[in-house]
């Protein structure tokens, strides 16, 4: 199952750091996100793009995870050569993450 079926997401940027929220459509499914969408999984997923660490923060009160991706924006929003300087589309990319659950 794709992460898109379980969660929605938004990307934010500060300098060369991106943050990506992963929010359960149904808060009851939050434990699935917490179990499968780990910092290591997200770092591996973005291996080609993110050069630094990935840190995960949990917000069970709203059924959400927050990932902070260091060295993720090609040197920073104000100097990157990337077409999407802010990395706005990274959250959409993550929606393709495969979660090992049956549909």
């Amino acid at each position: 199952m794709k992460l898109r079926e379980l969660a929605h997401s938004r990307t934010g940027d500060k300098g060369n750091i991106s943050n990506i929220s992963v929010i359960a459509h149904d808060p009851a499914q939050y434990p699935i996100l917490e179990k499968y969408v780990t910092a290591a999984v997200v770092k591996e997923f973005f291996a080609e793009i993110v050069k630094g660490d990935v840190i995960r923060y949990t917000l069970p009160a709203i059924g959400a995870l927050n990932f902070v991706l260091y060295s993720a924006l090609g040197g920073g929003v104000t100097r990157t050569l990337s077409l999407d300087a802010h990395g706005k589309g990274l959250s959409s990319a993550l929606m393709n993450l495969e979660i090992p659950l049956e549909e």
Partner: protein
């Protein structure tokens, strides 16, 4: 006063104009806030001010003020904005001029200055937060340095009777919190109420991003009426409990999902969101739907503010040149790849030096690289894009030129070439002791 209604009239400098007019006319608000100052905007504005001492404020200031000032004056709505950018005093004078042209009298405009810390930063060799290097490494290239001020100068201006307050660099949430401190007399050392106030400001500061903008994903997250998106209103009680809503009948929607996405937008550690006024904790925030397009928000907390203010420093980093050209039909991808190879070889042959070069095929790999973009379908059209970082404008221009010459020298059927070259003003940040930063208020009165 039982509740205060605050409207968010812009989420960035180029934002739509008329949603703010709708808030003035139909929002039943007491305060209208325009957050228009992105990270780099102030550095570019500083460069404009160096050329012309009367420039350096937001380019849309006049247009926005012309649109909302008459209605705000009539209804007694106060305006707070960071559209002063690098020159809040010139911005205040411009607002005065516009008000006079509109026949408005009895208006007090306050300009907040003191965020400019170029001298402080040049005198002390602070550490660049992003790289760990010393600021002396970019000293000669610095064009601007601005500390993030907090609520204090804005609250003082409100106590001074200002109807319109224009600032330079101020922490975005402070623009929204200041009227609450003023109206409810909140203690600026009640860290929990300051934390909750930060939640209010944070949720409102990107305007349409909480009312359904930056959210729609057809079939998964549908939003109606994005072409006439309503901007948000926070209806705040004295204890800090508030409801996010919008003008009835406007486009978009306010739901638990839109609020959750915006709560985490540009947040790192949600338990320690550092602002000039408080270290806010968002982890206990609760959203409750209390009506259609009405979400109640509680649970923001905080801890004591730090001894430092963050300063954002703009410097001339490099130059950037870019060119693009499109290919379509059978073999489009191969022709696009060939185009990129030719440009790379040309830059070598012609001795154009660059520090970094990026070769993209838009439609294939330009956003997320080859692996994440992999698909078995070959697109009908692609657009080749070459971007390079150089040390001179002259070399940056040559990158775009080498893409454009593909018209007559490159693969078959290349069309729609575009090129550009620009100076890159990049931003870094540093922590500066609060004690070195003093704000000032300047009033213009009609």
């Amino acid at each position: 006063m039982a509740t205060i209604r605050i409207g968010s009239g812009a989420g960035y400098s180029g934002d739509r104009i008329e949603p703010a007019v709708e808030l003035v006319e139909k929002g039943n608000i007491q305060y209208l806030i325009f957050e228009c100052l992105a990270e780099r905007t102030i550095a570019i504005a500083q460069q404009a001010k160096m050329k012309d001492p009367n420039a350096g404020y937001d380019g849309l200031l006049a247009q926005r003020m012309e649109a909302v000032l008459p209605g705000c004056k009539e209804k007694g709505i106060k305006i707070i904005t960071n559209m002063g950018a690098a020159n809040p005093i010139a911005g205040a004078q411009k607002i005065k001029e516009i008000a006079q042209q509109l026949g408005i009298s009895d208006l007090k405009i306050a300009a907040v200055t003191g965020d400019d810390v170029v001298d402080v930063v040049r005198d002390g060799d602070y550490t660049i937060l992003e790289t760990g290097e010393h600021l002396s490494t970019i000293k000669d290239n610095i064009v601007s340095a601005n500390a993030y001020l907090g609520t204090k100068p804005i609250v003082e201006a409100l106590r001074g009777g200002a109807d319109v307050i224009i600032t330079g660099r101020v922490a975005d949430p402070a623009l929204f919190m200041a009227p609450l401190l003023f109206e409810f007399n909140w203690s600026e050392e009640d860290w929990d109420i300051m934390g909750q106030g930060t939640v209010i400001g944070h949720l409102l500061e990107c305007a349409g991003q909480i009312t359904g903008g930056y959210f729609a994903d057809p079939g998964y997250k549908d939003v109606q009426g994005l072409a006439r998106l309503g901007f948000p209103i926070a209806q705040v009680q004295e204890d800090g409990t508030f409801v996010i809503t919008k003008v009835p009948g406007s486009g978009g929607k306010v739901t638990l999902a839109t609020c959750k996405e915006q709560l985490l937008y540009e947040i790192h550690n949600p338990a320690a969101y550092i602002t000039p006024d408080v270290v806010a904790d968002f982890t206990g925030v609760q959203f409750t739907q209390i009506g259609e397009n009405e979400i109640q928000v509680t649970g923001g907390k905080g801890q004591a503010k730090t001894e430092f203010l963050k300063a954002s420093i703009g410097y001339v980093d490099s130059y950037m040149g870019e060119g693009q050209i499109s290919y379509a039909g059978p073999g489009a991808v191969k022709r696009g790849k060939l185009a990129l190879e030719i440009v790379e070889e040309r830059l070598k042959l012609m001795g154009v030096s660059y520090q970094e070069l990026k070769l993209d095929l838009i439609g294939i790999n330009s956003l997320h690289g080859a692996n994440l973009s992999e698909t078995e379908h070959e697109p009908y059209e692609v657009r080749a894009r070459v971007t390079g970082r150089t040390q001179s404008m002259k070399e940056a221009v040559r990158i775009g030129n080498e893409v454009e010459t593909l018209y007559t020298n490159g693969p078959a059927g290349g069309g729609g070439a575009t090129k550009s070259a620009k100076q890159v003003v990049a931003m870094v940040s540093a922590l500066v002791p609060r004690s070195l930063i003093n704000y000032k208020l300047h009033y213009e009165v009609i």
